[in-house]
């Protein structure tokens, strides 16, 4: 049995594939298997994959028509025979010591999964590289110790990604942890990530960055309308999994909404401008429902985020006009609107302070009985 099975889902990645494969075949941990699945690629990815396969017998190559990212990942996990499973996107790459060191940690502490910090990178035309280290948690004391994510919903605050870690295969199998098999690449990693946390008993995060995540791929933005609501469908899938066990839902529903909110917010800015208003209306409806059911609560959110939630639920049209739409709007009109907003708020405050004043209250009390009488008389007449 190989120590780690590395799964590489490939979809039209000819530009980056060689760099990715070099970093995996060259891993210092030699006892690995490499499962490359081309999910209906139409470019030259196949030639590249075949060339590497000829040179490295550890590579298993699957070439088939497009079935979507989720299906591809599930197929990879089902084919894997290693003790642990790692995931590498075809346009990313990994430090050569990544799997050796993660495997060592995983074995030493008998972990269900171990994840590491990672780099996001952009490569300019000139070849110069911009690297940014991303920490899974802002708190250094969260690192390098075993934690139980299934008992600690707070750990869902860690940055979400599936590729910066490795997962014990028997753990994935025991809880039937699978990706959602929706078409295309539709955030299916969210559901996988959620499941590893809600079912995991022994997890660890390490403060060493190994994985390099590409941020300059022009093909990875959301342009088509069908893609707009993929994230919603993914969070429906996640809720479905949590609801299978009412205790699980009870424990994680607040953090579920925390993750959902931030992912929807990200989507709002990623989708094409012309879909943003419609998207925000649906967002508002879902938030309101979450609040009505007591699933969405104030506690996990920052002040800023909670203010956004309140604005979006109270008046999504206004939120759109004042916070989203200005991106492409006339600056002058926007400033005017802001000024009116401020004035409006001031006047409202003034009304409130008058209502609070002693004279107003006294008048209200004095006029209470006469008012009642008048109303009664009016009713009589009718």
């Amino acid at each position: 049995m190989a120590k780690v099975s590395v799964i590489i889902p490939v979809y039209n990645a000819e530009r980056y594939l060689a760099e990715c494969l070099d970093s995996i075949t060259g891993q210092t941990l030699k006892d690995i298997e490499i499962i490359c699945i081309s999910d209906g690629s139409t470019d030259r990815s196949y030639d590249i994959l075949q060339k590497y396969q000829e040179q490295d017998s550890r590579i298993l190559l699957i070439w088939r028509e497009n079935r979507g990212y989720g299906y591809t990942m599930n197929e990879g996990i089902a084919r894997a025979s290693g003790e642990y499973i790692g995931i590498v996107e075809a346009d990313d790459y990994a430090a050569l010591n990544m799997y050796e060191e993660l495997y060592q940690k995983a074995k030493e502490y008998d972990l269900d999964f171990v994840k590491a910090d990672f780099y996001r990178f952009k490569r300019a035309q000139s070849g110069s590289m911009e690297l940014a280290c991303n920490h899974l948690s802002p708190d250094p004391s969260d690192y390098n110790k075993v934690f139980n994510p299934g008992e600690n919903p707070e750990t869902l605050r860690y940055i979400m990604n599936t590729w910066s870690g490795i997962y014990k295969r028997s753990f994935l199998e025991k809880y039937h942890i699978q990706h959602n098999e929706t078409p295309g690449a539709s955030f299916q990693d969210n559901g996988f990530w959620f499941q590893t946390f809600i079912y995991g008993k022994r997890g660890m995060i390490v403060d060493q960055p190994y994985y390099r995540n590409r941020r300059d791929n022009p093909d990875s933005s959301v342009k088509s309308k069908e893609k707009v609501y993929c994230i919603n469908a993914e969070y429906d899938y996640i809720r479905g999994i949590l609801l299978k066990d009412p205790a699980l839902w009870e424990r994680f529903r607040h953090m579920y909404w925390f993750k959902k909110y931030h992912n929807y917010m990200g989507t709002l800015w990623r989708i094409d401008e012309k879909y943003r208003e419609e998207y925000l209306m649906r967002f508002s409806e879902e938030l309101k429902r979450g609040i009505a059911l007591g699933d969405l609560v104030r506690e996990p959110f920052s002040c800023n985020a909670w203010n956004n939630i309140r604005s979006i639920t109270e008046d999504p049209k206004k939120y759109y006009l004042t916070r989203v739409y200005p991106a492409g709007m006339n600056q002058k009109v926007f400033e005017q609107m802001q000024a009116l907003e401020t004035e409006n708020r001031k006047l409202k405050e003034e009304i409130a302070s008058i209502r609070r004043s002693k004279t107003f209250r006294l008048g209200k009390i004095l006029l209470f009985l006469p008012g009642r009488l008048k109303r009664m008389l009016r009713r009589r007449k009718r």
Binding site: V228, R239, L293
Partner: protein, 333 residues
């Protein structure tokens, strides 16, 4: 021998002679031709049987099933058992329909591989001769703009997004059989359980915004106008719905929606019931049913509609002056 019909239309008929012809013409004239029509005569004592006999002669797609008078619920089950179509439509003999209702709904169903299709409908007031909108039968604001759409994607009370009657919907027969769904054999509210369980269980629901059916209001034979004979049926329906949700393991998830709906529907029944049974119903709600339906003992913030909660409180505590009832509510909460 005809191929499998695309839609089986099931019509329970009970003393409906005044509108039966228009209803049957409306169904037989549907632009979707590949249908079968199952009329279940629920022991009519007027001329309905003769009309059915007459129509049967001129259209082989019409089948007449006779049964003694045991209610529309039983009649629909009978029709359901005999049906062979891909989809099921349950219509009432006093309503009438757009000529392309079935075609339009069926196309929706097929294109979305849906288990349920819900379409818009309106009311026809016989006396005034006017049509009135019924926006509450399909609350578009609560529907997901993406697919697949199941009840978990609704952003309003799952039991209020659509209405718990069957005639403005199409149901996939295989889906109905798979879950063993059936109508309650009682005089009124016999389709509530069927419809809501279907909505809860369906993985793919589609809707059609066009008005395709017209519900006739203000006719004396309509069962809903003589509810004093069956005023407890709604309670049986709500109770059965709760039991079934528990059996399916979905109650916990839907409890808040269910309780809000149960209160809403109880109050609606109380408001619309006339005569001496009204007092009786009020007494039963207060003494037993609010508790048995799980409404009693819930805090104010559990209820989406505060007005309904106040009405509930008035029934339980009587008409106290507002300030006192407010205080006593505060103490209980």
């Amino acid at each position: 021998m005809m191929d499998r019909p695309k839609v089986s239309v099931i019509v329970p008929v009970y003393n409906a002679q005044s509108h039966l012809r228009q209803c049957l013409d409306s169904i037989m004239g549907q632009t979707l031709r590949e249908i079968e029509i199952l009329c279940v005569d629920d022991g009519s004592t007027d001329g309905s049987a003769q009309i059915l006999e007459e129509y049967k002669g001129c259209d082989p797609r019409l089948h007449v099933i006779m049964q003694e008078n045991i209610g529309a619920g039983a009649a629909r089950n009978r029709g359901l058992a005999e049906a062979s179509g891909e989809y099921l439509s349950f219509l009432d003999a006093d309503d009438f329909f757009e000529p392309d209702m079935l075609e339009c709904a069926y196309e929706r169903a097929v294109s979305g591989n849906a288990q349920i299709v819900v379409f818009r409908s309106d009311q026809y007031h016989t006396e005034e001769g006017v049509f009135r909108d019924m926006p509450w039968t399909l609350r578009s604001h609560a529907l997901a703009p993406y697919r697949p759409m199941d009840c978990r994607t609704f952003t309003d009370n799952v039991f209020k997004v659509f209405v718990g009657w069957a005639w403005d919907k199409l149901f996939e027969r295989e889906f109905v059989l798979k879950h063993g769904l059936g109508f309650q054999e009682q005089r009124t509210s016999n389709d509530l359980l069927f419809v809501f369980l279907a909505i809860v269980l369906a993985e793919r629901i589609e809707t059609e915004e066009r008005v395709l059916a017209h519900q006739r209001r203000g006719t004396s034979s309509s069962l809903s106008n003589t509810r004093d004979k069956s005023w407890q049926c709604f309670y049986e329906a709500l109770k059965a719905l709760r039991e079934n949700l528990i059996r399916l393991g979905r109650y916990q998830e839907l409890e808040q929606d269910y309780i809000n709906y149960a209160l809403h529907f109880s109050l609606w029944n109380l408001d619309t019931l006339q005569g001496e049974k009204k007092k009786e119903l009020r007494r039963m709600l207060k003494k037993h049913w609010f508790r048995e339906l799980g409404i009693a003992g819930k805090r104010e913030d559990y209820f989406y509609n505060k007005k309904e909660y106040r009405q509930y409180w008035e029934i339980v505590r009587g008409r106290l002056p507002r300030i006192i009832s407010k205080c006593s509510r505060g103490i209980v909460d």
